[in-house]
Amino acid sequence: MRGNWDLLLFCVPGMVFTIIYHYIPIYGVQIAFRNYKMKKGIWGSEWVGLKNFAKFFNSADWWVLVRNTLILSLYSLAAGFPVAVILALMLNSFRHKRYRKVIQAVTYAPNFISTIVMCGMLILFLSPRVGVVNNVIRALGGETINFMAEISMWRHIYVWSGVWQGMGWSSVIYFAALAGVSPEYHEAAIVDGATKFQRVLHIDLPFLAPTMTMLLIMNMGSVLSVGFEKAYALQNDLNLPVSDIIATYTYRRGIIDRDISYSSAVGLMNSIVNSILLVTVNYITGKLSDNALF
């Protein structure tokens, strides 16, 4: 059979569900421009144009939300990205191979802990009354800190617990890439009298540049889509001024307050900004180096 059309059958089930639950919702985004009523359905609801967007930008919330989302995502990126690269470089140049395996196994493990368990552990450890951290602080003569209620702490807790959980796993891809460094470079550098540190800095690190660029572009495309799960789990009324991000706001307004069209408009605006950022960063990196994604 030419063209192997029967292979299409292999793809049909996945495509059907993807069309229903992914492409139809994209078409359904038009409820952002309508006043959605459940009875009238997506296509029957009244068309209101940009009213929902205007409502968002006229509210006091929008700037706080965008700022919180941006800060959280850029801070996460700025903290997590170098840690993963440095960890991979250190592991790669580590002399004790068996100990290295142990370190890798342990640092990968937190990646498989669920968001809820991760946040549960944080809340337990940081609890003002019985938490370990406050026990240590009190033992050292300090004052008890109610971490989860402290606005100035929330972002650091969010970001660094994320680094704790993800550093091992995000280093895997760099560690794998480092296997591709030709030993000849290192041999030549040794003959020229380069120290190990110099070799890591001038041979290994530049070798990772394409992988780093690729992941950076991918990450920039999602700066405004900070994961809902963790932010929502760590949220409480006291830290809301810094912990409310676009995803949790969309959820609260849409699912809880049932303001469906408004929530869709906020979500849509979010996706549009993401796409613009992705294309822009890709364009800039394409200009600066040959490593653009597309």
């Binding site: 063209g3 192997n4 292979l7 993807t18 250190m90 196994a105 498989f112 995803a247």
Partner: protein
């Protein structure tokens, strides 16, 4: 003379480097390992000692009360069973959809390869968002059923790409051509030749999808209101994160105060046990499958 001097200096620089790396990595190792270890020893220690900060390196006042308390909590047991069913159901559907699709898209002689691949890649960058998806899930009657947790994400694009790369590199095209000459069609070839050769990729996909289902709570939070259907993660959220506290009397006698302290401590202790129990399915398989997980990342990082 000149050379040996150089050699000596280089060696000293490297020794310093190696020592620093050793110290930093050991430090990181402890930072990651200790909290995990602390949860384990706290789950089997006397809760009063834990909250007093007496548990540091070894369990103090060994007890399994926390675990008993967890098994006595009906909602947790039910959530555990629900999550097991959801994970098995979801992963099976994921595999049934992902493996055939990935194989078809790995074939260079498949005419629709490019458009269908693009069809999937696009979904990584464009989406309708939370509310439009919610409306479609509701109008297809999936609300308050487990299908809402497994059907919308039945094909993970990243996993599909990993599997496709696997088939590209592991099923030689010559094998297909030879089978074709013998009159074997694509479907037959897939069932009798490809599937028996895809053990490794099936393991990787099982793990990625399985851990995903076990750990997720977002879909259930949105789509499932009926508590009997809740997965474990939602029950955990109630206990670990939302801290459903019980109202207490303002004035209490000495004995009541002591009893309350004990109950509070037990509640705290139960949290440690809960963390362990909820992580058991992943913890049990983790040591055996770690190399598969890593292999998956490596396959995925190869452009193809």
């Amino acid at each position: 003379m000149e050379l040996s001097h150089k050699k000596l200096r280089r060696a000293r620089g490297d020794v310093i480097y190696d020592t620093i790396i050793f110290i930093i990595l050991t430090f990181l190792f402890l930072i990651v390992a200790y909290p995990l270890y602390f949860v384990i020893i706290s789950s089997i220690s006397d809760p009063i000692e834990v909250s007093a900060g007496k548990v540091v390196l070894t369990p103090v006042g060994f007890t399994l009360d926390g675990y008993k308390e967890v098994f006595k909590t009906r909602t947790v047991v039910r959530g555990f069973v629900n999550s097991l069913i959801i994970t098995i159901l979801g992963t099976s559907i994921n595999l049934l959809v992902t493996i055939p699709t990935s194989y078809a898209l790995s074939r260079p002689d498949f005419t629709l390869k490019r458009p269908i691949t693009l069809f999937y890649i696009l979904t990584m960058f464009v989406s309708g968002g939370m509310m439009p998806t919610y409306i479609i899930v509701r109008s297809t009657g999936l609300l308050n059923t487990w299908w809402a947790l497994v059907l919308p994400g039945c094909l993970g694009v990243y996993n599909m790409i990993v599997a496709r790369t696997f088939f590209k590199t592991n099923i030689p095209l010559e094998l297909m051509e030879a089978a074709k000459l013998d009159g074997c069609g694509n479907t037959k070839f897939f069932i009798y030749v490809v599937l028996p050769l895809s053990g490794a990729i099936t393991a990787i996909l099982c793990l990625y999808y399985g851990v995903g289902h076990w750990n997720s709570y977002f879909s259930a939070l949105i789509y499932i209101q009926k508590r009997e259907l809740w997965p474990l993660q939602l029950e955990l959220r109630n206990i670990l994160v939302m801290n459903t506290s019980v109202a207490t009397k303002q004035v209490m006698t000495e004995a009541e105060l002591l009893e309350k302290r004990r109950l509070d401590a037990l509640k705290e202790m139960m949290k440690y046990s809960l963390i362990i129990i909820s992580s058991i399915p992943v913890l049990v398989i983790y040591p055996f499958v770690q190399k598969h997980f890593v292999k998956g990342v490596m396959i995925g990082s190869v452009k193809g």
